[in-house]
Subunit: 280 residues, 4 copies
Amino acid sequence: MSVLSHNSYGKSRVRLTKVTRREERHELMEITVDIELEGDFEASYTEGDNRRIVATDTMKNTVYALARSHSLEHLEGFGLHLAAHFADGYPQLRSATIRLAQQPWERIAVGGAPHPTAFVGGGSEQRVCTVVRSGGRSHVEAGLEGLLVLKTTDSSFTGFERDALTTLPDTDDRILATSVTARWSYAPGAVDWNRCHAAARVAMLEVFATHHSLAVQQTLHVMGEAALAACPQITEITLQLPNRHRLLVNLQPFRLDNPNVIFVPTDEPYGMISGTLRRE
Amino acid sequence: MSVLSHNSYGKSRVRLTKVTRREERHELMEITVDIELEGDFEASYTEGDNRRIVATDTMKNTVYALARSHSLEHLEGFGLHLAAHFADGYPQLRSATIRLAQQPWERIAVGGAPHPTAFVGGGSEQRVCTVVRSGGRSHVEAGLEGLLVLKTTDSSFTGFERDALTTLPDTDDRILATSVTARWSYAPGAVDWNRCHAAARVAMLEVFATHHSLAVQQTLHVMGEAALAACPQITEITLQLPNRHRLLVNLQPFRLDNPNVIFVPTDEPYGMISGTLRRE
Amino acid sequence: MSVLSHNSYGKSRVRLTKVTRREERHELMEITVDIELEGDFEASYTEGDNRRIVATDTMKNTVYALARSHSLEHLEGFGLHLAAHFADGYPQLRSATIRLAQQPWERIAVGGAPHPTAFVGGGSEQRVCTVVRSGGRSHVEAGLEGLLVLKTTDSSFTGFERDALTTLPDTDDRILATSVTARWSYAPGAVDWNRCHAAARVAMLEVFATHHSLAVQQTLHVMGEAALAACPQITEITLQLPNRHRLLVNLQPFRLDNPNVIFVPTDEPYGMISGTLRRE
Amino acid sequence: MSVLSHNSYGKSRVRLTKVTRREERHELMEITVDIELEGDFEASYTEGDNRRIVATDTMKNTVYALARSHSLEHLEGFGLHLAAHFADGYPQLRSATIRLAQQPWERIAVGGAPHPTAFVGGGSEQRVCTVVRSGGRSHVEAGLEGLLVLKTTDSSFTGFERDALTTLPDTDDRILATSVTARWSYAPGAVDWNRCHAAARVAMLEVFATHHSLAVQQTLHVMGEAALAACPQITEITLQLPNRHRLLVNLQPFRLDNPNVIFVPTDEPYGMISGTLRRE
């Protein structure tokens, strides 16, 4: 009567702290790993025959065991290592998808100098990476999430369609705030993952700061172009920019003017602007 | 140098309460709506030319204005109404996607009888619906999220693959707990949305309770089959079952046995089992 | 130069699932326990001398070990048991505070009958309890959190103070919605904890539904009185009622009326109304 | 039968963005304000007589109106201003409590220089402040929340009490991670709020990094002492340090050693260590 047309399974939120103890200082890497496998698992679904099932508990063990000897200098390298372990090691697999996110930690400054073994963290921004391995080839997607940015000026929104349900006035000076989600793909071949990630990130931040925004859509486009220009190995980038509205407060009932000074930040509803730019 | 290969935008988390004031009792409907449009919007991205842009603020207004006269008896009907308003009303659109979620409210029992105007809420389960309209046709996907269920017995997991990284023992009696996410598609034509949703939900709950689970994968399969059997208009169902592990606590250091009595519930890491069943 | 004027420490979010396997059905209890101790611990703070420190890991072990043999029929009994274990067992303690919260689970209905071993959960409401033991005496406070309730009518708010910063109009018919937090104390002596909790809860729900609210403050007062009346052993009750505003949407720009039909639910800002009623 | 022994009410989560537009650059201040009033409000609770009630909506308006002309250079000054407005302006008040939290924003670096009108945010750390005004006097408490810190070494925990329920081994080298919550009181009189806050924060960070921890309790003590030493106007400081455990992973089943290299970060359960230091 029914057919199992798709299936996959895995382990999510495997959290890992690795401390690399060098002579002069410690390196700290904290990541969260999600693993998802596709393959010949139908018998488990339809009959409860688990012989081809790699237990999700085993996947968790694998993350810790492989992290012991891997350098973990970047998400991309560890993601490729994990993807190959699963996709090349278990014949019943068609593909392995590894999703990684890195928690931000910086060294505490003591007397102006970065401390070798103490860290301060807590930002909302995460560096992320997805590796998909299938048919002997791996695809790497890198990116970031939760990068909050805000411009107090140089943002307008005018000339949009007006109909019977439109009440928003044109504005030539508003606050623009967003939480950037970006994912980009790399061309096959050697990439300096850390340098390229940093370059794309800085390029997006700088153009966000310096351009005059005509719409969140247009801001998305210039940020995407900046990332493509910053790192030649990026072939394609997708951005999602929620419009974290700051609404001008009406102070007229209190006989006060409000020349773009007092706003109320709101979480919902919010505009959500998406777009993908591909290098030609 | 680059081409905008994809774009879409919309308004997310438009929240709405509608009170329908009947003679003998009030009906309460609380929903959250997300709207996403695709179409001829490239000029806004590439040049900041917003002439074809429907402001996301206008989308928000539309939800409230259309809800005024619509019956809102179910998410599906209101979703179809909104999708048609956008997709059929703006020539620059290629598609409109409406995602809706309903907050659960039940009448307060007073002296054993449901009260006509007072409600108690707060469950984590949400009824959801997605309507996509494109090319003059609408596709309806219904479902639910956040339905927590737990079996204290009749769940085993044995015979899975064992290798050098496997430490999980076989178990023939464990707690099985999950938070069900289900999405199903309906065949074109008339559907009693409320009756069909309730039938699929009850069928999944009952089979979860009564079957002996050989794996979360197999539980997913029997739940999908039960939903397909409960409502003939369902053509396909996708389930996601995170394994909300309850781990047996080792009480031997305290000279106590633990015959499946004391467990620690954990949030992470968790197994995540997915599958799609299609009616043949 | 400084004195340690106060200190305490403990273990938070110890999560526990207990399954009591009776012949005909299983009982399921899922709770979260926080333990906080005060006592003669200064040497650990000032000198790192930990000889009087009960490790928080030991507190966690204690919860699991004591739960093995305890009936866990209610939070209050297990809280008293834990408090006595710590306060009476370690001479360096001045007081032990045990906070407990119970996750809501109900039996899945199968063919109309409650299933003996399968449960459905997920509500936001939690039953809570705090036991403080000090000087050989225990004080029990019980309550609930996260009980969402909403009235679509029978709520007004008029006649409040008006000044130069007041813009809110009087209203004689609004939606009243809140998430009830209630904590009450019991007189020393025997209490049927489960019956009394249920009676107080039902009494608050029923009066919320049936009274005409003149202010959230007044609703709080009638709910507190109802709880005191429902259970003679309650000596005092504190309620916190956040005003989960549903704001009437202005549909006039769209030439539509809105006779209390369409509202927007908001999370922030919110009014917060608190009060304590003591039995005389 | 009952007496209203305590009452208070107010408005919570009033969010505000203020942009101060200077010639050469913009200042950005984003805060969340909670207001709580105590006073002669019993008639509203007991009879629904609202004549002495300041609507919470009016409190919200007040925050925006007063922020228009106030410099908002620090939370403390604005909190004092709001507290005086309420406590001195409404004769029915006995006290006004203002709680404020500041969202962290830094200028985007463009070509190495801070941009005048663009900001990056998103850290979990918030600067906070509570002002209580009563009887014509104001008390100011400042602090911070959500400051995540981690030491990869120089942390031990040994010599604690061992009993039948203790399984934790002594350790002389562990990861110590916590999310600092600190609240301190100022002596009456002039304080440079921004300088003092920064000095206390830096002092706590530096001593966290450089001291050898013998227990979280002892770390709390040295951090409190450092804050008291950094700012003479601080009279008392309370710290709360949750122990965000990083647990050593057992890699022996995979024939791997783990010399403090691979850890699993956990959210629950967690130790919670509290203490108050008063200047003598």
